[in-house]
């Protein structure tokens, strides 16, 4: 049973515009959420995270929003740049346990 869901396999966004990647989860006990970014032939790298006690966390061009009542989080990238083209994994954890990843969304930034 998939606990972390990324329902969009891919997304294309014009350079300079906002990219919004969405993630839903089913386990209400998740208390920590993360986004990882992966380029081809490289391992995933940590991008940004948020604790369940917050509803927003910002780091430069990247902002993560958490809506606990809807069990939904989103990653906003503003402005989108060519180097942002990658696969983005949403991930979650419960009670300081290991990470559970979603299936990933491939983001294409168009020139």
């Amino acid at each position: 049973d998939q606990q972390v869901k990324q329902n969009s396999p891919s997304l294309s966004v014009q350079e300079g515009r906002i990219s919004i990647l969405n993630c839903d989860y089913t386990n209400s006990m998740f208390d920590y959420f993360l986004w990882y970014k992966k380029y081809p032939a490289e391992g995933p790298t940590f991008l940004i995270s948020i604790s369940s006690i917050k509803d927003k966390n910002e780091d430069g061009r990247f902002t993560v929003f958490l809506n606990k009542s809807a069990k939904h989080l989103s990653l906003h990238i503003v402005p989108s740049q060519p180097g942002d083209s990658a696969v983005y994994f949403c991930a979650a954890s419960e009670d300081n346990d290991k990470i559970i990843f979603g299936k990933g969304t491939r983001l294409h930034i168009l020139p």
Binding site: Q6, P9, Y32, L34, A41, E42, G43, P44, T45, F46, S49, F89, A91, A92, S93, N96, D97, K98, I99, I100, F101, G102, K103, G104
Partner: protein, 113 residues
Amino acid sequence: DVKVTQSSRYLVKRTGEKVFLECVQDMDHENMFWYRQDPGLGLRLIYFSYDVKMKEKGDIPEGYSVSREKKERFSLILESASTNQTSMYLCASSGRRGPYGYTFGSGTRLTVV
């Protein structure tokens, strides 16, 4: 610069072969993980280890085993490789319990023919 090194970038093995995938980290991390990445399935946890000689099953352990004889090395073993084990294998380590500070290796692309 901290590193997780996976011994091979590409491997081609025959069905039925015993396959060893090696992972070494130089960060003195307690925790190590093996994932596989498949299109449409994302990252799935195979096995993990929170200490030397300790191992725990992840979500998809069938057909795999692991070995952790030294803190820095975590090996994934395919006892008898099958074509459905063709995948990208990713090793990760972290220095504390919980979802923090995972560092991934670059991956091993295994093809079983």
